[in-house]
């Protein structure tokens, strides 16, 4: 059992006197007498009700203390009018009892001990009982409860429980639903009164212009914009007067009717006019004046409610709303203290294709300087959110500019602050370094905007990048080193590494960004100033970039960077040169890489050997690597290479070593075994037979030694997720197929037929045979609509003709599969006749002909 953590009242000892019930009844009676006296004086308004609420609080606190101990932290909150401290004489006492966790028998006992005396006192208690974890389902809770919660006020117990309860909820969705529920309830209620406030005998609580409308307008403002009611409608002063008037009248109605009664009938109108001392020779005159005031106040409320309904911004996130002038904080004062929430403001603006409002920007501008970089990105979730934010899309430049102008960007990323308004004089640049940098992102954003199809060939490259946000991060950092007059690419790289540490970026991402930042000038240099018709220049450039993803990113970075220098810099002429270098390098990387083989003298050996783990010898590494394309070393980290070396130890000709690993985008299957007929198609077939969608992959074969095949795939049918032991089952099936105990064709048959039936009208497949690009291999490039079992079918079609599938690059871009096969037949390139045979066979397979 635990005590409530922060009870606002101390627990008294045993109550004095023989019967605590009598004492309680006397306390309540005393409070009522005070309120009645005030009401009779015509003063039953806000102050009197606050006083009565305060007395009720004391009673509740006493009962809480006397109820014994719950087994866990618990708190009681006042809801509705009581929560607003406007408890009337015969109003219900609306309470929320919140427990920290699941309620057990001691808690139920506590609950009874707490509530029973309230009932014994003759009070009408409306109570809700909740547990903190139930906050997760808050948005689905009943609308009246959601609304009541907006007025919740802690009376006794651990007041933080409500914060915890709300924190567990989806605040944005809950706020939206609360607002929607409120609007629906208002419409429903008004309909009952024929949508008019001009009632001869009005219900001062429920009718249009009544107290519920007033609270409705206040709630809308609270949920969306605290100053909303000051910006339109009748104005705050008129609302205060209306509230005071209605509360005084309501107190009179409760007193006169001796019950919870809110209808201002003719008789009660006379009584209220008298109590409130309206002047007039006859009761009728007094009533007319009194009702004139009533309608005036009701009109004020009605006007403000209509304004609130019309002008309220839409809640879209925690403490965020979308207003006419953009995204703003609901509570700017609270937001000012929580810099880790600021990025969400800009993300919301991006998501809703709007700006950030001026007042939110000025809040950030005034406060950003108070915080250190880590305050903006304190946790992994915040750092991930920054990377998500940097995905190129329409509006990113504008949002980054807002962040920069308000001081947030420089404070969050001090490296960027170093180039704030930095002027570098040269013959080309037309903007300050910071603006040039942001413009590069604008250029990239334009490529990503489907509404503005520009430079389609480059735009497509952007869609093909695995992590385009890392390209944006690289652009953001590429010129930060220009704060000094030294070699800026080197300085930018050094500064980028500082940011990597703070962002706790994965090693692979660090390498990618560091490559782009350090080499950002290289592609324009080669494209515009070197003879790119010289294959050696292309080869050297291909060596520098290593893999297609880096090439694509560097190409886009160069395009964006050149375009951001000035309006005239990126000419169609330069674009063409850049594109040609891209294509030549891409072709070298995908078509000619098979000729670049690792030999015993390769420099990578020494680097790997120097950092090798104790259980792997240098000789082992050299032996394992020899004969593979150098590309192998660009695709695998040293840790992966060492793992491959270990797995390849003592591997027999028939053995199959295969393992599955989870990756960011799905799964990765690695297979190490000796080459055998139909090996590649069998592995692809097994994956397809489990419904896996192969996205990327590589197959490396060398004349002696084992092969390494790696497949990145997504588990479309969630087989591995939903089936315990699914991974083992997949690997077992693979073993059986590769050791010829199971025919994968049988497993695939049903699935393939289904896949063919579901085929969408696609584009004609492209098959291109190339005997020129590689000295050792015939290359077959296939671009076709991606489909289940595609890789299996095409690789099988090639193996059936006696071809050895030596090297494979698998790629998927949207609906298109782009696969490049390096083939030999009996160790030789294919003849022209054999190429024709392969092409025909592939055409037949891709068209689904038998």
């Amino acid at each position: 059992m635990s005590e409530p953590n922060s009870s606002p009242v101390s627990r008294p000892g045993p109550p004095p006197g023989p019967d605590p019930r009598v004492a309680r009844a006397q306390r309540l009676e005393g409070a009522r007498r005070e309120l009645i006296a005030a009401t009779q004086r015509g003063e039953g308004g806000r102050n009197a009700l606050r006083q009565y609420s305060h007395r009720m609080d004391a009673l509740v606190q006493q009962l809480f203390a006397e109820a014994g101990q719950a087994s866990q932290p618990v708190a009681v909150f006042a809801l509705g009018g009581y929560g607003r401290r406007e408890l009337c004489l015969h109003s219900d006492i609306d309470l929320l009892v919140m427990f920290a966790a699941t309620i057990g028998p001691p808690d139920e006992k506590f609950l009874h001990a707490f509530l029973n005396p309230l009932w014994d006192l003759g009070l009408t208690v409306g109570h809700h009982v909740r547990e903190v974890p139930e906050g997760a389902g808050l948005e689905a809770d009943n609308p009246e409860f959601l609304l009541a919660l907006t007025d919740a006020r802690a009376i006794v117990g651990d007041a933080t429980l409500l914060d915890q309860f709300l924190a567990a909820s989806n605040m944005a969705r809950t706020a939206t639903r609360t607002l929607d529920a409120l609007k629906a309830l208002i419409a429903e209620r008004h309909a009952k009164f024929n949508d008019t406030l001009y009632q001869l005998e009005p219900d001062i609580k429920e009718a249009p212009g009544g107290l519920r409308d007033l609270f409705g307008a206040q709630t809308i403002a609270m949920l969306t914009d605290p100053i909303l009611l000051g910006q339109g409608g009748a104005g705050p002063r008129a609302l205060e007067d209306a509230e005071e008037f209605l509360l005084k009248v309501r107190s009179i109605l409760h007193l006169e009717a001796k019950r919870h009664h809110n209808i201002l009938g003719h008789e009660l109108q006379e009584r209220a006019a008298e109590v409130l001392r309206y002047s007039g020779a006859s009761p009728r005159q007094r009533v007319e004046r009194f009702m004139g005031d009533y309608f005036r106040h009701a009109r004020s409320i009605d006007r403000s409610l209509r304004w609130a309904l019309r002008a309220a911004p839409a809640p879209i996130g925690r403490n965020l709303v979308r207003a006419a002038d953009g995204i703003r904080f609901v509570d700017a004062r609270a937001a000012a203290e929580r810099p880790e929430t600021w990025l969400a403001l800009f993300q919301a603006a991006l998501d809703h294709d709007t700006a950030v409002s001026d007042d939110a920007l000025s809040c950030i501008h005034q406060n950003a300087g108070r915080f250190a970089p880590e305050d903006f990105l304190p946790g992994a979730a915040h750092r991930d959110a920054l990377l998500r934010f940097l995905k190129p899309r329409r509006g990113l430049y504008a949002r980054l500019s807002e962040m920069h102008d308000s001081g947030l960007l420089g404070q969050m990323i001090p490296e960027f602050k170093a180039i704030n308004c930095r002027v570098v004089r040269d013959f080309y640049h037309k903007y300050t370094v910071d603006e040039h940098t942001l413009l590069t992102i604008k250029n990239l954003e334009r490529l990503a905007d489907p509404a503005r199809p520009e430079r389609e060939r480059f735009a497509r490259l952007l869609t093909e990048l695995d992590a385009p946000e890392l390209l944006v991060l690289s652009l953001l950092l590429h010129d930060v080193g220009k704060w000094t007059d030294e070699d800026h690419a080197t300085e930018s790289t050094r500064m980028a590494r500082q940011l990597f540490e703070r962002l706790d970026l994965e090693q692979e991402s660090r390498d990618f960004v560091e490559f782009l930042v350090s080499q950002h000038l290289k592609m324009s240099l080669v494209a515009f100033r070197r003879d790119t018709e010289d294959p050696e220049i292309v080869r050297q450039f291909a060596d520098l970039v290593g893999v297609e993803d880096r090439l694509k990113a560097l190409c886009l970075m160069t395009l964006a960077d050149v375009e951001a220098v000035s309006r005239e810099t990126l000419t169609p002429w330069k674009e063409e040169l850049l594109w040609r270098l891209y294509v030549d390098t891409y072709n070298f990387l995908t078509l000619a890489y098979g000729d670049e083989v690792i030999d015993r003298d390769h420099s990578a050996h020494s680097a790997l050997s120097a950092n090798r783990p104790a259980d792997v010898s240098a000789e082992e590494i050299a032996e394992f690597l020899e004969g593979w394309p150098r590309r192998y070393l660009q695709l695998f980290s040293p840790a992966a290479v060492f793992h491959h070396v270990r797995q390849a130890r003592d591997i027999g000709p028939d053995a199959v070593k295969a393992w599955l690993e989870r990756s960011d985008a799905g799964w990765e299957l690695t297979v190490l075994t000796y080459d055998k007929p139909f090996l590649f198609s069998n592995i692809s077939g097994v994956l397809s037979s489990f419904g896996m969608d192969i996205q990327r992959g590589f197959a490396f074969t060398k004349p002696s030694g084992p092969i390494v095949d790696v497949f990145h795939f997504t588990d479309e049918e969630r087989f591995l997720e939903l089936n315990e032991g699914g991974e083992a089952q997949l690997l077992k099936t693979l073993q059986e197929v590769l050791t010829r105990r199971l025919d994968v064709a049988v497993r695939l048959k049903g699935r393939e037929e289904g896949a063919f039936r579901r085929r969408l009208p696609g584009f004609a497949p492209v098959i291109h045979c190339d005997n020129e690009s590689s000295r050792r291999y015939t290359i077959v490039e296939i671009v076709a609509e991606n489909a289940l079992g595609l890789l299996y079918r095409v690789s099988r079609a090639m193996s059936e003709l006696g071809c050895d599938v030596d090297l494979v690059l698998i790629g998927t871009e949207g609906r298109r599969a782009i696969d490049v096969f390096h083939l030999t037949r009996n160790g030789e390139k294919l003849t022209a006749a054999q190429q024709l045979e392969v092409t025909d066979n592939l055409q037949r397979v891709l068209e689904g002909r038998p």
Partner: protein
Amino acid sequence: MKLIKSIVRPNKVDEVKAALEKLQISGMTVTEVRGHGKQKGHTAIYRGQEYNVSLLPKMEIEVVVPDSMADEAIKAIIEAARTGEIGDGRVFVIPVGESYKIRTGEKEG
């Protein structure tokens, strides 16, 4: 006076400029151009599909020199721009009748 108009490989511009500057010829107009001569472009393959690159990016450098310097300038351009491969470009020499400075209206040459 002669107008010497040379079409060269983009990567040769710096070398041609340097060669002309050595001859004290510093005024020149450099333009990005696309076209083809005997080289006629070629067909490139990207992802299995052919695309034509018949108009190749080149640089055009124009200089006006006195008749007495023309041969020397032409020689310098050819030496600086030559690789020996197809696509090295062309040099055109055009006689210039008159030349005026726009600022002063002064006639030259």
